[in-house]
């Protein structure tokens, strides 16, 4: 996998822009992760967050962005292993890793244009976390359309 992310201390991981030549993010291939993490939103590609983020997220599923997304321990552990093994690279504050892709610096940068605001209003998009509302093939790892 040539998915090497840019390391900028805590700003980390600029997936596509950092991957010269790559135009997609490796999609989730594990059916368990696809199912369990794709029930309320699309199953986000693990490369978007570093391992420390996934570990923290999987340890706090009882309060997942204001919701209970808890799993039984066996399922939880299997999913965490997959996410960690396919995580993005980047140095982060291990004590306080980011949990939102939408709050990473590269994401903010890519989504600061008026174009995003217009699309959001026009398509009545609830949250920027609903990637597929604007990127039709987000599930498959393509974000270069709009």
């Amino acid at each position: 996998m040539r998915f090497t992310a840019l390391v900028l201390s805590a700003t980390l991981l600029a997936p596509l822009t950092a991957m010269a030549g790559e135009d997609s993010v490796p999609p989730v291939t594990d059916p368990l992760v696809k199912k369990e993490c794709g029930e309320c939103h699309m199953a986000f590609q693990p490369a978007f967050l570093p391992a420390a983020s996934w570990r923290k997220m999987m340890a706090t599923l009882g309060d997942h962005f204001g919701e209970d997304a808890s799993l039984d321990a066996v399922t939880r552990d299997k999913i965490e292993s997959y996410l960690v093994a396919n995580a993005g690279r980047g140095r982060v504050d291990r004590a306080n890793p980011p949990l939102r892709i939408t709050e990473l610096n590269w994401f903010r940068h890519e989504h600061r244009e008026g174009e995003v605001r217009r699309m959001r209003a026009k398509r009545n998009v609830k949250t920027l976390a609903d990637c597929a509302a604007c990127h039709r093939d987000a599930d498959r790892g393509y974000f270069e359309d709009d």
């Binding site: 029930e39 309320c40 009882g62 204001g66 209970d68 609830k126 976390a129």
Partner: protein, 137 residues
């Protein structure tokens, strides 16, 4: 000739109806056993109590999810939406036939959603009432 055609059709209908009815019956029986154990005065589930649970705004749970209707909409016949914008198939068994047929799925979502909305697990009585309401819709 007519009856010959209708008969197989009726059998197919019955068969599909019972394919879903059996796991639902097993779920309800299970909840009934638990409800009886918790309260010997238990006499059966009520669709109207289930509807009240579905519509009540609670204060004990997470502020983002005050009621079942926050995601499932006020109508069991309508498509809902998660807080992250993903559609949720209607809850009424008549509209989404495979609802309430997988005990693991039912248990997982009652656990999560009751904790999010009420701040605690639902009782067997509440679960049975809720299913009874949704199956009647």
């Amino acid at each position: 000739m007519r009856t010959l055609l209708i008969l197989p059709a009726a059998i197919v209908l019955l068969a599909t109806a019972s394919a879903e009815a059996a796991p639902r019956r097993a779920l309800l029986d299970d909840f009934a056993t638990q409800a009886k154990a918790a309260d010997p005065g238990f006499t059966g589930f009520s669709a109207s109590r289930g509807e009240t649970l579905f519509r009540t705004r609670f204060t004990g749970g997470k502020p983002e999810t005050p009621a079942c209707t926050a995601c499932h909409t006020a109508s069991p016949l309508k498509t809902g939406e998660t807080r992250a914008g993903k559609p949720i198939e209607p809850m009424a068994a008549s509209v989404t036939p495979d609802r309430y047929t997988d005990p693991k799925k039912v248990a997982k979502w009652f656990r999560r959603n009751c904790k999010s909305v009420l701040g605690r697990e639902c009782t067997a009585l509440e679960k049975g009432d809720f299913l009874t309401f949704m199956i009647s819709q």
